[in-house]
């Protein structure tokens, strides 16, 4: 029996009336000023569409009940409450800082698609620079938006509190942009983005959200930040 971890949140989060994706009761593990929301499971979860939808629905419900919540990736388990409490990524100061970052905010996601050829992210082109510099420049370029994408997101700049970007990794996908905005401003964000989209001729824009701040965990808590 392991603890399946759904989210980390402010300590005031109540789970009354909610259950986990296997129907299990939710438990609250205290992590100093924060809490971890967990359920007990006997086996690993299969990432079916239904399981993903269930976890997303639960995380959204938890998000509605507290001002600061960090979703945890699907399939995350720890041995027991002590293992979660002592987990090296959940040191008190870092967790508090991470929760402060998303407090009273929510995420919007914008996917920008183009019909013209664009180079996908690659770090293997030969250049005159050394391999170390080439590698670092390649990593940096992953998070540098193409000019067209910068123009698109400028429509919502006034609403954005934080931004994370990813260059397209498949042909046609120009970029994916994740924005943290103040809670309750999602409709304004959509209206601004759709007004901008109506002026574009060679791009399609998909706007998703608002959602919990899935993309705004600390950089060094993800394997490819």
């Amino acid at each position: 029996m392991r603890l399946y971890v759904y989210a980390l949140a402010d300590a005031d989060l109540a789970t009354t009336g909610l259950c986990g994706i296997s129907g299990e009761p939710l438990e609250v593990v205290t992590l100093q000023d924060a809490v971890g929301i967990v359920g007990r499971m006997t086996e690993a979860k299969t990432p079916t569409r239904e399981a993903l939808q269930s976890q997303d629905a639960l995380v959204r419900a938890l998000h509605e009940r507290t001002s600061a919540l960090l979703p945890v990736r699907f399939g995350t388990t720890v041995a027991d409450a002590a293992a979660l409490h002592d987990h090296p990524t959940l040191q008190h100061a870092r967790l508090t800082q991470a929760l402060d970052r998303v407090r009273a905010r929510e995420q919007m996601t914008v996917r920008i698609v183009t019909n013209r050829p664009v180079p996908t992210v690659s770090h293997r082109e030969s250049t005159s620079t050394g391999r170390g510099r080439q590698y670092l420049e390649g990593r940096a370029s992953e998070h540098r938006l193409p000019t067209e994408a910068v123009e698109v997101v400028s429509a919502v700049r006034a609403l954005v509190r934080e931004e994370r970007t990813e260059r397209g990794r498949v042909q046609g996908m120009l970029a994916t942009v994740y924005h943290l905005i103040d809670r309750g401003r999602g409709a304004d964000y959509r209206a601004a983005m759709e007004a901008r989209a109506s002026l574009l001729t060679a791009l399609s824009i998909g706007v998703a959200g608002p959602s919990p701040a899935y993309a705004f965990g600390p950089d060094d808590w993800t394997p490819h930040a």
Partner: protein
């Protein structure tokens, strides 16, 4: 909230942005590719049969992230 498409031009690639597939894209993006990583324990199956059991710390990501051509080459 379901994703809506805002577009000024019909693009073949833009079909990706049509619902409900876009909702699935969001689910995969958010739950498998984003979120805090502590440890991952996951079973990959097909037609109700568990095929692969993965128990890793911090290596669970979208398929395009593990394609050799797109991975950064460490010096």
């Amino acid at each position: 909230m379901a994703e809506r498409r805002a577009t000024s031009d019909a693009l073949p690639t833009g079909a990706l942005l049509d619902t409900p597939d876009l909702t699935l894209v969001d689910l995969v993006d958010n739950l498998l590719d984003k979120g805090i990583v502590l440890d991952a324990e996951i079973v990959l199956g097909l037609a109700g049969i568990d095929l692969v059991y993965v128990r890793l710390a911090a290596l669970l990501c979208a398929a395009d992230r593990v394609q050799a051509g797109d991975r950064p080459q460490r010096p």
